[in-house]
């Protein structure tokens, strides 16, 4: 082959100096990160505190009281008895919803006809509130783990499904043509073209679904159960144990935050090309 020689720019390898620089940057980065994460929550807690300390309302205890209740309620074996199984169900439900949502979303996104056929029914199902859905599921599935999972899936699958559909519909036609003419088909076509190019929107759906799954975990435990994080919150609410109720909500929030951190990691590695391309043309 005749060879053309144009090197694409000189590449400087990082030496030891840049490594120390990088560590320094990392340390500074961790500090800044902590400030970024904590600043607003601290302000909000102070605000809450200022508000509740003066006009004490029965339903809004001070942060101190909530923290006390939190320590008492959750920093004990209660966490293992009630919270851990709930988190397990939540993760299982989310995983099922992700799989179901992506598979159905790809199928419906690819076929306008399938979508036109299924959409009214799906929209119908989507509009049914879980409190009326649960009795039906109890009837169809029974009162068991599967029912709880079904509730979580039935609620959190929608953002994944809708976003996947839209992501799949928006695949760049030039890439579609590229795949067609190189006859990239089947599984490879699905994984290298469809899923990848829909992934930014799919990630949006998954992020939505994660917090919805937490909410539905709570709702699923409001029916036919006698344990679980959601159950504890509802029970505390009904028993007017308001600080305990808030401590449960606090735990949900913390759970949501922790999961979103993990999710962020996954997202960054899945979408590194996407972020990279964006950052690249901004020249940073």
């Amino acid at each position: 082959m005749t060879s053309v020689s144009t090197p694409g720019g000189a590449r400087t390898e990082n030496g030891a100096t840049s490594r120390t620089r990088r560590t320094a940057r990392l340390v500074r980065g961790a500090g800044a990160q902590a400030v970024r994460i904590l600043l607003l929550p601290v302000l909000l807690v102070l605000l809450w505190w200022g508000y509740t300390a003066t006009g004490s309302s029965y339903y809004m205890p001070t942060p101190g009281v909530i923290a006390g209740a939190f320590a008492e309620t959750w920093l004990s074996d209660q966490f293992f008895v009630h919270a851990l199984p709930s988190i397990g169900r939540l993760l299982a439900g989310f995983a099922l919803a992700a799989v179901a949502g992506v598979i159905a979303g790809v199928a419906l996104g690819l076929s306008p006809r399938a979508r036109a056929t299924a959409e009214p029914v799906l929209e119908f199902c989507r509009a049914i509130p879980p409190p009326v859905l649960v009795p039906l599921l109890m009837l169809l599935i029974g009162v068991n783990l599967q029912m709880k999972l079904a509730v979580i899936v039935a609620g959190s699958v929608w953002p994944i499904l809708l976003n996947t559909i839209e992501g799949v519909r928006a695949v760049d036609p030039v890439l579609v043509d590229t795949c067609r003419c190189y006859r990239i088909r089947g599984w490879r076509w699905l994984t290298t073209l469809v899923l990848r190019s829909a992934s930014p929107q799919m990630m949006a759906g998954l992020r939505q679904a994660l917090s919805i799954a937490i909410i539905l975990m709570v709702i699923s435990e409001m029916f036919a159960s006698s344990s679980g994080l959601g159950f504890r919150i509802v029970l505390a609410q009904r028993q007017f144990a308001i600080p305990e109720m808030w401590s449960g909500i606090l735990l949900l929030g913390l759970l949501g935050f922790a999961l979103s951190v993990v999710f962020g990691r996954v997202e960054r590695s899945v979408l590194h090309w996407y972020e990279g391309a964006r950052a690249a043309s901004r020249g940073t």
Partner: protein, 262 residues
């Protein structure tokens, strides 16, 4: 053999219709290298997509080796005009080139050597691990080209594949295409706006008219098979041919100016 018979294409999107191609008929014998020139917007890309089986013509037919083209035929590679968008941003340069090879039953080694050779041929040997969006426009275009040649197609369709590279690289790539074409006896259809390039590369130059698009002229390039950037381009026959093509395009556009006045 590639047969294009009475191809007519109308785009109908929104509230208006655009007749991109009126009526095109020509035949490209197997192993021929033809260049396609014509005014901007005359329907070259449209024609290419019809030939590639990416788009059905409104009427008329394309056949390749006696089989009507309804979907992209096997062993065909296309370099798209929108080279930037035809690269997968989530794959590295190497990944992009390797992807179409994966479904060919090749050993891993063979695949890797094909990729390396193609990258080397377009002068990007060190860019394999980069992502397309880390490359300049011209480099991206060369990646798209490398993908096509690594695929070792029987039919190669190229839509202005050298538009974004510098003159020197372009000359090298022209020679590369001719070398590959001779070596693998591919059928090549090459769209370009550079008249010199069309004459230098092709065995034949097809000139399209402005819309309503028909074949304005079909010029056989009777230059010697062995071509060389310096001597061929300096030959008087070359000059004659390029003048002929230039005039045809002028006519094509004047015709359009005249009709568009109505």
């Amino acid at each position: 053999m590639l047969d294009v018979t009475g191809v007519h294409k109308v785009y109908s999107g929104g509230d208006r219709e655009v007749e991109a191609v009126r009526d095109l008929t020509f035949t490209l014998p197997e192993g021929e290298l033809a260049c396609l020139v014509g005014p901007s917007g005359c329907g070259k890309t449209t024609l290419l997509k019809c030939i590639a089986g990416l788009m059905p013509p409104t009427s008329g037919q394309v056949t390749l080796a006696q089989r009507p083209v309804a979907a992209p035929p096997p062993d065909m590679a296309v370099v798209f005009q929108e080279y930037g968008r035809s690269l997968f941003p989530w794959l590295t340069v190497r990944g992009n080139i390797e992807l179409p090879l994966k479904k060919k039953k090749l050993t891993r080694q063979r695949r890797e050597s094909l990729v390396a050779e193609a990258l080397d041929a377009v002068g990007l040997s060190s860019s394999g691990p980069s992502y397309p969006w880390q490359l300049s426009g011209g480099m991206q275009q060369r990646v798209a080209l490398a993908r096509a040649i690594a695929y070792e197609p029987r039919v190669l369709l190229m839509d202005e594949p050298f538009a974004a590279v510098d003159a020197q690289t372009r000359a090298d790539l022209e020679d590369l295409i001719r070398t590959l074409w001779q070596r693998f006896s591919m059928t090549v259809l090459f769209v370009t706006h550079d008249i010199d390039e069309a004459v230098y590369l092709g065995q034949r130059v097809l000139v399209l008219s402005s819309a309503p698009t028909v074949i304005q002229d079909d010029i056989a390039v009777d230059l010697p098979e062995e071509r060389d950037q310096l001597t061929t381009r300096a030959s008087s026959r070359f000059t004659e041919l390029r003048t002929r093509v230039y005039e045809e395009i002028q006519t094509a556009k004047r015709g359009a100016a005249a009709t568009s006045g109505k």
